[in-house]
Symmetry: C2
Subunit: 375 residues, 2 copies
């Protein structure tokens, strides 16, 4: 294999594929990119076995030659080194020439830089399933972004119950429902989709964020869900991620149907007050208290060693009897932030029941936080 390539387009491709390369991979072969040059262009693949990314650099972009003076072939080459090298070079073109499948020489167009990298034959690389099959759904960048950013933060980061690290996606009757929960809180977002698209898939929440990042500046993404994988197609890049096996917990009945206490406040006032009070929640792992009555809303925190904080919110609407509730400050702040609205409604069933964080004017998103028992 050999080719001369526009450095900028090569680097773009390398950067995309490198998002699948893990710095601490047990399998040495996965520290490599797989580079393949065939009649369609240069394909760069990276994988850490959880996520695989394959992206294409075409021979031409419009009238502009991107790859020239080439010979088809393939090779495995150290990903981190190649990215660093191409990033630090400063000529318009780069030439990569593979000698005998074991050494690649990389030079820039003024021949001032000449590198020779040991490389590996492609047959050592794992077979990756990067074909689109199963049910397909196309989402705009804006829809995908909102789906991901309003939900994935609520998924679990711990591997004890792997299913909770997923974003649960369920498509039926023209609605896509995305649910994330770490069992102490839940975020759910619904989107309208074409009728007839039906599937259930548990996609690692982390991978949804990764795909959302790759979508920046793009128009849309097409997702194909099969039994074991989700395959995202973004322009000339495909991203495959395994699905998480197992049944997602039944979260259908978590959103309370009837609530007895209702607080409406400015989202920013609420977040700022919680953030400040939280400074004094040192001994209590970010737990703050919320005391509500028709006359006053107070957020407070206390540390036996350090002191105490009381925050009052002046402008609010509260309906219900006096209520005192304690919660993880980060959970409520993240939920309010995810709503992205100027005002926010908190609806409570009772002191120890999960409560709702929502936006009165947008019923496509609902968030649930479980209070914490304090003494």
């Amino acid at each position: 294999m050999r080719f001369t390539i526009k450095r900028e387009e090569f680097l773009k491709g390398l950067n995309i594929a490198s998002r699948a390369i893990s710095s601490k991979n047990a399998k040495a072969v996965l520290e490599n990119f797989k580079l393949e040059l065939n009649e369609k262009g240069l394909f760069i693949t990276g994988t850490d076995e959880n996520i695989s990314i394959k992206t294409q650099v075409p021979y031409k972009l419009g009238e502009e030659d991107i790859i020239r003076n080439y010979k088809e072939g393939s090779v495995l080459i150290k990903a981190r080194l190649l990215v660093e090298m191409i990033r630090k070079m400063d000529t318009e073109e780069i030439t990569l020439d593979v000698i005998d499948s074991t050494i690649a020489t990389i030079s820039n167009s003024n021949n001032r830089s000449e590198y020779s990298l040991n490389c590996v034959k492609v047959d050592e690389y794992p077979d990756l399933d990067l074909d689109a099959n199963g049910t397909e759904l196309t989402l705009s960048r804006a829809d995908f972004d909102i789906l991901v950013s309003q939900t994935t933060f609520a998924a679990s980061l711990k591997e004890q119950r792997p299913i909770l690290t997923a974003l649960n996606l369920e498509a039926s009757n023209g609605t896509l429902t995305a649910t994330a929960t770490d069992s102490a809180r839940m975020a759910r977002k619904t989107l309208s989709i074409p009728l007839g698209v039906e599937f259930v898939a548990n996609v690692p929440a982390k991978m949804m964020n990764e795909v959302n990042h790759l979508l920046e500046g793009r128009e849309s993404v097409t997702i194909a869900f099969s039994d074991k994988k989700a395959l995202f197609t973004i322009g000339t890049t495909v991203v495959a991620t395994r699905l998480i096996a197992g049944d997602y917990p039944n979260t259908k009945n978590i959103v309370p149907k009837v609530t007895n206490y209702l607080l409406e406040v400015n989202a920013n006032d609420l977040m700022k007050a919680i953030e400040r009070a939280n400074i004094l929640s040192i001994d209590r792992e970010n737990i703050v208290d919320l005391s509500m009555s028709e006359d006053s809303i107070e957020i407070s925190a206390k540390s036996s060693q350090v002191g105490s904080a009381v925050e009052r919110i002046d402008v609010f609407k509260y309906v219900g009897q006096n209520l005192h509730i304690s919660f993880n400050s980060g959970f409520v702040i993240e939920a309010v932030k995810a709503l992205g609205s100027a005002d926010v409604t908190l609806a409570f069933v009772g002191e120890m029941k999960p409560f709702v964080v929502e936006n009165a004017s947008d019923d496509s998103i609902v968030q649930i936080v479980t209070p914490i028992r304090t003494y």
Copy 2:
């Protein structure tokens, strides 16, 4: 003690003094600021025993009241919490009221935030020597900045030989000479100062950087050197640092008087080539090789496992016989960067002798790097 203070000025003072607060201080009392309100204003002090910073917030700035409604007094109060609190508040004024020397209440001007912090009597605070005595020298911000940024990077970061963590300052005959060395390289900068100012002081290089940071946006600094400390006065802030005891190594004869090989190159070309070649110096801890002849300049690196790199520099002037030398890439890059000039001269005595990195048009700065023996 009590006072109502403009939040922004209070925060500025807290941020300055907090630069002396260490997050991992063995003495709990040093996690506090000392706040003192006397007839001159509010004084905020922080120390970690190596560096002490005391800054003043005045009663008035021009016609504007900064502190009002006050009662003199003093208290020790948790530094990290106070900074975080004042930073997160959003009103123009803050009121701090110390009750009985053990509790401070902090409230904002709309009374929506009310904090109560346990605090400590000032008599538990160490006595700090923050008086200016000894020889004084005033430097402009520009001179101080260049003195520090062209030298301190060459000081040692390791505590094995504490004296090498210092910037050695020597004033005599109208010249201030600053020297830093970690024993493998050296940076020396000279400045003209008034005749008659004579002193020798070993100031921790880290503290010189800290003072340089505090000087941002200021005009000048006055330094008073006594036997055991240097005291920096920057506007209404004083910074005291202990000096490092012991004799600084004799570096007078390290700069070679006669050199046999002379390379002149563009600084940027040289740094870029070293940076790129260094990608392949993985097994050798950032060692790269420089081969010079009248026909070519090559920088190379090799890793037995990964591959090799050769960088050629096209535009250069070289006088001398062929020479091959190996060095720590970071040392040469930092030395070239510190010069801040478009072109750079490297002057060599021989393969294993320390070499000079300098700028032909500025003899106030000279840098020495020791080559590394490679096989």
